[in-house]
Amino acid sequence: MKKKVITRRDFLRVAATTPFAGAIALSLKSGEKLSPNKARVVLVRDKKALISFNNPHPEVIQKMLDDAVMTLLDAKDPIESWKKLIEPSDIVGIKSNVWHYIPTGRVIEQSIKRRVMDAGVPDDRIDISDRGVRRSRVFQEATALINVRPARTHHWSGLGTCLKNYVTFVSYIPNYHPDSCADLAKIWYLPQVKGKTRLNILIMLHPLFHGIGPHHFSRKYTWEYNGILVGQDPVAVDATGLRILQAKRREFFGRERPLQVPAKHIFLADTRHGLGVSEPNRIELIKLGYKDEILI
């Protein structure tokens, strides 16, 4: 059967129907039905989250994370909530992100590790890594993954968020670059990853909402949002982060200014790969903390 080509005209046909027209147009290619499931995402914000840029407040971060995970899982205390995610027998990889300009950072990594240990996993069965995941014994044997990284726009995929964070699990990353990283969700079906992710944490403390130059970074295009998004569905978490970043771009530039490269991999993770849900009406968004300039 001849492969169906998606052209600009497919987008034009559905442009007036929904703000997520792109997802629908792209779904034409897969022919798959949208998942009926509704995903819960928790957004927590605290004005005291940051001491300075790339320097979060450890105690505030721990509380934000605890509040978010308890709410996500309807638990009464932090340890109970993490025990719903992690078994003492698990081998846990905390998939971080070391991007020089806005890394996940030690404070957040250690907040997560603390709770994994509270759930009963000993230190020697936990590893935190980004570019070393393919060499790490713990990651090779992992039964559970916690996926954590900051949100930022990305030169080639539109957005660097939870879905994209697993790209270091593959041996040759450029294989996933065609069509602006459209099929990043495929990585989530590789044996070393498939079905192992217990929690996705998208850090929105000072996201990058616009990028320039080879490094796609300027402090000018970050802002203090003081937020963390948490969810078990990576697609729902990313789609929510995308809405916030788009709203910030609208506010900053004073007009509708879409990402230079649409973050279609997020919608295709839903419509083509069935990994999760991307449409707002299928996401239960719970907001904790202050609401000023929340943008969503």
């Binding site: 998606i6 987008f11 990353i173 069509d179 130059g213 080879p214 300027s218 402090r219």
Partner: protein
């Protein structure tokens, strides 16, 4: 990641300053090639690969208590590709350095000869801005070559499109970055094709001009057929269709060239624009 020949590395290195306004170069430079660039700038590395870059030399400058400044010095192998990669991101103000430059948000970019240069301050201050511009001047002065822009640029009507905002590129990935046409490579673009994309405004609406040159006419014929089959199966006459937004797309083949007008406000305007371009080709 030192993967390039010692001789080439030394030559590039000699074009960069070692100290400017108190910022001193770190002892060791770093270099990357098309295989290793992702270790340095992840996905954006595709852009430089798309323009056939040969080597990237990175020099970091430090000054106590001040933000670092980084020079990314790309040997693109040809002035066409140095110009092309410069046109990938044209946002910013002209800084008057090299053969074309932009400045924005603590980032100076320019091209000269076969080189594309990006100078970036990790934090934008008045001091770093001055140092960036001085570094840019120093690098531009050290480059002796002066390059020519691709001749394809001249085909676009300068009175209709802003020639300072034209993108020059080779392949499908970069085309879609600037203007999405299709997820598949229906124009059969590759590293041997050359393309220019410009934007104009007519009756308050932006339209797109795209001209592609293929290595030979036979390839242009294949590409024309591939495009019209995928993009305009409902063409009202050869190469002309009204799209779902009630705007017009016109495609025409001329020898080894394909000419496209997207988002034209009328079919008459699209044909006028096509004639304008064809006349310019005739005068080349």
């Amino acid at each position: 990641m030192d993967n390039c020949s010692h001789k080439e590395k030394k030559d590039l290195s000699s074009l960069l300053p070692t100290e400017i306004k108190g910022w001193k170069a770190e002892e060791k430079d770093h270099s990357y090639d098309p295989q290793t660039i992702f270790n340095y700038i992840d996905g954006a590395g595709e852009v430089y690969r798309s323009y056939n870059f040969r080597e990237l030399l990175v020099r970091r400058f430090k000054r106590e208590g001040k933000p670092d400044i980084v020079i990314d010095f790309f040997n693109m192998g040809s002035s066409k590709d140095a110009f092309g990669v410069f046109t990938h991101d044209l946002e910013g103000e002209e800084a008057g350095i090299g053969q074309g430059s932009t400045y924005k948000g603590g980032l100076l970019s320019f091209w000269k000869g076969p080189y594309f240069v990006s100078i970036y301050a990790e934090e934008e201050t008045e001091e770093t801005n001055k140092a960036l511009l001085d570094m840019g001047e120093a690098v531009a002065s050290a480059i002796q070559e002066v390059g020519e822009k691709p001749d394809l640029i001249a085909i676009l009507p300068g009175e209709e499109v802003d020639v300072n905002k034209v993108h020059y590129f080779h392949n499908h990935m970069i085309l879609n970055y600037h203007f999405f046409i299709a997820d598949e490579n229906i124009l059969l673009l590759d590293q041997q094709t050359e393309a220019v994309l410009g934007r104009g405004v007519h009756q308050g609406k932006e339209y797109i001009l795209l001209v592609v040159r293929y290595p030979e006419a036979g390839k242009a014929i294949q590409a024309y057929e591939s495009f019209t089959e995928a993009y305009m199966p409902d063409a009202i006459e050869p190469g002309l269709v009204q799209t779902e937004d009630r705007l017009w797309t016109l495609a025409k083949m001329k020898d080894d060239l394909l000419i496209f007008i997207f988002n034209a406000s009328s079919n008459i305007f699209a044909k006028e624009m096509l004639k304008n371009i064809e006349d310019r080709i005739g005068n080349e």
